[in-house]
């Protein structure tokens, strides 16, 4: 009769960490659309999602190789699939957010902005010269910041 030693069950920490990083990736992606973003951060969240996948995969493999020691065959498999989906989604978002046209022909530093006249939000036409001259009767502004944005929707 074989005597089997009582094997100590260990927490499959890799699975938990993997889930944590995957969730950080999801949260991070959400934050980038809430105006809390720097260039570095957008790379960071893809890295988080990638790390989440690596850890989940590691944890799942452990659960299958050493089932007496590590639990988590089901959760490990599910977690790995989730991490994969989150990483794929993060990469897609990253690529889409960067599919911006090159704008090589845009005005450069040192060039003058071409004149324009466009309606303001009350419908009144406003020209670039008017903006540069400032409010009538007052001193002209030291500069004007012209901000082109994607629009509100």
């Amino acid at each position: 009769m074989r005597m089997t030693e009582a094997v100590q069950k260990r927490t499959n920490w890799a699975l938990w960490l993997g889930l944590l990083f995957t969730l950080l990736g999801v949260l991070g992606n959400w934050l980038t659309f809430r105006r809390l973003s720097s260039d570095l951060f957008t790379w960071f969240i893809v890295a988080c999602a990638a790390l989440g996948l690596i850890l989940s995969l590691f944890g799942a493999v452990r659960a299958f190789r050493f089932p007496e020691v590590y639990g988590g065959k089901v959760w490990g498999s599910l977690g790995t699939v989730l991490s994969l989906v989150v990483l794929a989604g993060s990469i897609m978002i990253f690529v889409l957010a960067r599919s911006v046209p090159r704008s090589a022909g845009a005005p450069q530093v040192g060039q003058r902005l071409p004149e324009f006249t466009l309606p303001d939000s009350t419908g009144k036409p406003v020209s670039l010269s008017q903006l540069l001259a400032g409010a009538p009767g007052g001193p002209p502004p030291k500069g004007v910041l012209v901000v082109f944005y994607r629009g509100y929707w």
Binding site: A106, P114, P119, G143
Partner: protein, 92 residues
């Protein structure tokens, strides 16, 4: 003194302006004519495949000359406030 330009019609810009409590001027370029002239067009970049502007900022002095500009490569990233403030200070 900022001025914000997009393809949104005046009533949409006015709604945004009031909602955020902005006091500066919002201009409408619904046919993207100025946007095209400045080579800032993002074809089909908006909802329902509308042509919109890519994000870009130009700081111009009283003569209309560009002294600082910013073209972000990721639509989620905004120009950092310090960069902008430094450029504005340099105008004084």
């Amino acid at each position: 003194m900022p001025v914000a330009i997009s393809v949104d019609p005046p009533d949409v810009s006015e709604k945004l302006r009031q909602k955020r409590g902005y006091t500066f001027t919002f201009l409408s370029d619904p046919k993207a004519e100025v946007i095209r002239r400045y080579d800032l067009l993002h074809p089909r970049g908006g909802p329902e495949e509308h042509d919109i502007s890519r994000p870009a900022e130009f700081l111009v002095d009283p003569s209309g000359t560009v002294r600082w500009e910013n073209f972000t490569e990721d639509i989620r990233v905004r120009a950092r406030a310090e960069q902008l403030l430094a450029a504005v200070k340099a105008l004084q």
